[in-house]
């Protein structure tokens, strides 16, 4: 009798463990689902700039000492992506490979410029550590301020006419791609897109009902 109880007890424990594993898997899957469902767009928080407005025009020196013009209609007719980073921001570090791959894949129409501020010495170490020598790297406080950057990593996409095409906080590859996407589709942000899209859907429904 006691033996039966022992066996049954251990069996029950094993069942509890298995159910625990299944419960964990389910909860994890729900978490992944929530992440996927969320619109993967870069969040716009900017009090200084507006999408469609002129990009502030600045002549600045990059870290190598050559002059770079930001804003205005560029001579080579390509768009510019200002990617704001800092050596002290851990998320920026994880995004550098993404920026590098974007440089290659979007090189036909896009110049990527890394922007930061603070001690030049820090930046040189940062460039060396992450092999950013091929980038135009600007360390300037005025740049960050005139583009209203308050949170990092932040990116601003300036189109070939020198206007702000899109901008936002960048935390993942999807966020960066959403900037390119919104330029292509001519919508300011993912929030905007969802709004107009759902409004259009409603209109369509109404017109079919009328017929």
């Amino acid at each position: 009798m006691v033996e039966t109880l022992i066996i049954s007890n251990i069996l029950l424990w094993i069942v509890v463990v298995v159910m625990g594993v299944m419960l964990f898997a389910l909860v994890r899957q729900i978490g992944v689902l929530y992440e996927r469902v969320a619109p993967a767009g870069a969040l716009m928080i900017n009090q200084t700039l507006t999408v469609g407005g002129e990009a502030p025009s600045l002549d600045l020196q990059d870290i190598k000492g050559s002059l770079v013009t930001i804003g205005g209609v560029p001579e080579n007719g390509s768009s510019k992506l200002l990617f704001f980073v800092s050596p002290t921001c851990p998320v920026c570090k994880t995004l550098l490979p993404v920026v590098k791959s974007a440089t290659k894949s979007e090189k036909d129409w896009l110049d990527i410029i890394l922007a930061s501020d603070g001690d030049t010495y820090d930046h040189q170490g940062y460039i060396k550590e992450h092999k950013l020598e091929s980038f135009t790297y600007i360390s300037s406080e005025i740049l960050g301020r005139s583009y209203g950057v308050s949170k990092l990593p932040y990116a601003v996409l300036i189109d070939e006419q020198g206007k702000i095409a899109s901008m936002g906080i960048i935390n993942s590859r999807e966020h960066l791609e959403s900037l390119f996407e919104s330029k292509e589709r001519g919508v300011a942000s993912i929030q905007d897109y969802i709004k107009t899209y759902s409004a259009k859907d409603k209109d369509d429904d109404l017109s079919t009902e009328a017929q």
Partner: protein
């Protein structure tokens, strides 16, 4: 009141798992842990540099010492102090209304904002630490006790992870609502 020896055994194993994993996550990314610690805004800047290394180190030492019978009492007190500190730091920030800071408990890939649920979770862990300090009835542990203790530990660790994931999910869901 005396408790059965299996209970402190399970408690020590679960706490050991929790602390070793937590310490491991922190060591993996000390820069980020420094930022988390700064965000809590409970430590003066001078102590920050010390605590960035001290907290994961103490967590690791406690986690390992919990497995050794000789150091059980000391490590249980250490674990209790650590947990009380976490509860305090979270409570202060919640009272100030700073609900969006990362708790720093889930490592790099799992961001989790501080919440009352987290205090409750740490409260349960604190109770486990307390169980290690209470009087134990003298009963020889037999083989079956060990089997059950091990299985109960696995279940306990699983539940710990489930609770963490549920807290993360709650954040994610709230994020989704804000979009809508």
């Amino acid at each position: 009141m005396q408790i059965d020896p299996v209970i402190p055994l399970v408690c020590s194993l679960i706490l050991s798992y929790v602390f070793v994993v937590a310490s491991f996550h922190k060591w993996q990314n000390l820069d980020e842990f420094r930022e988390t610690l700064t965000n809590y805004q409970v430590l003066p800047e001078i102590l920050l540099g010390v605590f960035v290394f001290a907290i994961p180190a103490v967590e690791l030492i406690c986690g390992i010492a919990l497995l050794v019978p000789y150091s059980l009492t000391v490590s249980a007190i250490g674990a209790g102090i650590l947990l009380s500190m976490y509860i305090g730091a979270i409570a202060i920030n919640l009272l100030k209304g700073r609900r969006t800071i990362d708790c720093g408990c889930g490592g790099t890939e799992q961001k989790q904002a501080i919440s009352e649920g987290l205090i409750l979770r740490n409260g349960v862990l604190l109770f486990f630490a307390y169980c290690l300090l209470t009087a134990v009835s003298s009963r020889e542990l037999v083989a079956l006790d060990w089997v059950i203790a091990l299985l109960a530990t696995v279940v306990g660790c699983l539940f710990y992870n489930i609770v963490n994931q549920l807290l993360v999910n709650k954040d994610l869901l709230r994020g989704l609502r804000e979009y809508g």
